[in-house]
């Protein structure tokens, strides 16, 4: 990074990049004045694995499994967006039943991701009992995922032209039971996160992203919706079966009547989206037509068809963290010519800067985590002050955050 001139009043603290709890290592360098953050610099690329390059020797069906490994949490979104792009190029028509099954899978993933995030957020501000409560509920969502796809994490459910597993009639009772459990426990979660006084004190007015900044910096997903920008691929365009379903933008004013763009608003948006997802799955189970689940069940035939197509396409899907967009160009070969992945965190990096400016060191974990950036804990903080170097371990930074919560509770 660029050497910055340090004045007497400010000092720099680096945060990150590696910690086992980080889903995506990120390196921050903060310029601090006392307790206040004056400036932030973000450095990326610690886990750039060249996945797009690895696709150059793979055919589209093999790439589905590669795409699944882009991210452990969004293991449905990436292959889905890739499949949408390829289907767009090859003009493959998807069976109607498959469109509904795809919605069910993506909403189930959203429930898992948002409850995971809520647990991490609770941990960041020092409520570990809430973390366990939330993840206990999440566990049921994972059980349901395993029941429907065969796996808890890498689901391998997407196929170009449809999905690989159906939800048959005899699977419905267990599915409905799982959904009922989530519905019953949603109220408990809502009460803990939205009504608790200390939660409010730590999250309200903290890490604010204005609507103007959200638009200018191209933020996506719950981060931008919490700032009042109505942008949700599921509502904005017709893809999968979302065009048939009753779905609307969730912004914090739905609940509170106002938009502040702070951490609290981001909690509201994510929690309400969990409820929306349960509702969408129920709508799908209700309306799902019968029929095929994949356009072309013979893989060899499908690959042969894809080998002949020429053109470019874009696949867009609303992942739990925001819009994911895949650009694919095919030129009549086995492997696509270009494959460009854009995950939502990519667009939510710049919005961190206005969010973190002016906040306290103890707020770094919760503000950084509030965009759900695959960045939930911080590794080590080395503080260089007056040429004397001392380090804050991740535990120490976490302790500062917990202490602030306790201080507020007193």
């Amino acid at each position: 990074m660029k050497p910055k001139t340090t004045t007497k009043t400010t000092y720099h603290i680096p945060v990150g990049p590696i910690h086992p709890a980080l889903k995506e290592p990120v390196f921050f360098e903060f310029e601090i004045d006392g307790e206040r953050i004056v400036d932030v610099d973000v450095k990326l690329g610690h886990v750039h694995r060249g996945i797009e390059w690895a696709s150059r020797k793979r055919n589209p069906v093999q790439i589905l499994y590669l795409a699944e490994r882009v991210c452990g949490i969004c293991s449905y979104c990436h292959p889905a967006a890739f499949a949408l792009a390829v289907e767009d190029i090859a003009d493959i028509e998807i069976p109607e039943r498959a469109e509904y099954l795809r919605v069910i899978q993506s909403e189930l993933e959203r429930i898992c991701s948002h409850t995971l995030w809520a647990g991490v957020a609770a941990h960041e501000i020092g409520f570990d009992s809430v973390l366990f409560l939330t993840w206990q509920i999440r566990e049921k969502a994972l059980d349901l995922t395993e029941y429907l796809t065969g796996n808890r994490v890498t689901k391998a459910i997407t196929m170009i032209g449809g999905v690989r597993r159906d939800i048959t009639k005899d699977m419905l009772p267990t599915t409905q039971k799982g959904l009922q459990y989530l519905k019953d426990n949603f109220e408990k979660l809502r009460h803990v996160f939205l009504d608790d006084k200390t939660f409010k004190m730590r999250s309200q007015g903290c890490g604010i992203l204005t609507k103007d900044d959200a638009l200018k910096l191209c933020a996506v997903g719950p981060t931008t919706r919490a700032s009042g920008v109505k942008k949700d691929v599921r509502v904005d365009i017709s893809y999968f079966a979302y065009g048939d379903l009753d779905v609307s933008h969730i912004t914090p004013d739905v609940l509170t009547g106002e938009v502040n763009g702070d951490v609290y608003d981001r909690i509201i948006v994510r929690l309400l989206e969990v409820k929306q997802s349960i509702d969408l799955i129920e709508q799908c189970l209700d309306k799902m037509p019968s029929g095929d689940i994949v356009a072309e069940p013979k893989i060899a035939k499908l690959l042969n068809q894809l080998k002949k197509v020429n053109g470019e396409g874009v696949g867009r899907h609303e992942a739990p963290r925001g819009e994911v967009i895949h650009y694919v160009k095919m030129d009549g070969n086995d492997a696509p010519f270009t494959w460009k992945i854009r995950a939502p965190t990519y667009n939510n990096i710049l919005p961190w800067i206005p969010m973190l400016k002016g906040e306290q060191i103890a707020d770094i974990p919760i503000v950084a985590a509030s965009t759900d950036p695959c960045m939930s804990c911080t590794n080590r903080v080395g503080i260089v002050k007056d040429n004397k170097r001392y380090e804050l371990a991740k535990e120490e930074l976490h302790r500062l955050s917990v202490e602030k919560t306790r201080r507020l509770m007193r």
């Binding site: 990074m1 910096l217 942008k231």
Partner: protein, 178 residues
């Protein structure tokens, strides 16, 4: 930063064509049906001459402030193609238009103006294009690398398919004969 009223895909294409005439090399409106009700999603592909690029972005921002999803790129041999993926009209129910503006740069002089002055959020993706495709973004506010580590030599661009591509570095990969 006000959002203007809803635009139809035909209006968008027409407005570009009347402002930039022959500088618009090709335009295509693609519609794709989905679900039981067969509602349509709209994708517009525009190919623009390099000389009109900055003007086109300005024109777009004045028409309606767009959301820039990402910039992707292709090495086409003689030229480098950059594709700017925008979305317009979001906020309504199934009104959104996906607008893809493609511009080709000659390899002898792969330079293009920054759009960060209009859309500050373009910084991350422009930095990525610089290091991955060896494109020079004129006027970029921050020209450091984004994803590439410091030990990748200068002049190697991972997305290139010519002698400046990453082939020289393969020997360092696991399982490759040295």
């Amino acid at each position: 930063m006000t959002k203007k009223e809803k635009l139809t895909p035909e209006e968008v294409v027409k407005s570009f064509e009347s402002s930039f005439k022959s500088k618009i090399k090709s335009s295509q409106i693609k519609k794709r049906k989905a679900g039981s009700k067969k509602n349509e999603a709209v994708i517009i592909w525009l190919k623009i001459d390099k000389s009109a690029f900055k003007g086109a972005i300005e024109h777009l921002c004045k028409m309606q402030f767009p959301h820039l999803a990402v910039v992707s790129g292709n090495d086409l041999g003689e030229t480098i193609e950059l594709i700017y993926h925008f979305t317009l009209n979001y906020g309504g129910r199934m009104d959104e238009i996906s607008l893809n503006i493609s511009v080709e740069l000659p390899k002898s002089k792969p330079e293009i103006e920054t759009i960060c002055d209009w859309i500050p959020g373009a910084l991350v993706t422009e930095r990525e294009k610089q290091e991955m495709l060896g494109v020079k973004i004129i006027g970029i506010p921050d020209d450091r690398r984004l994803f590439l580590p410091d030990d990748i030599p200068e002049g190697i661009y991972p997305w290139r398919r010519d002698e400046t591509g990453p082939d020289k570095l393969y020997k360092n990969l696991h399982g490759v004969k040295k």
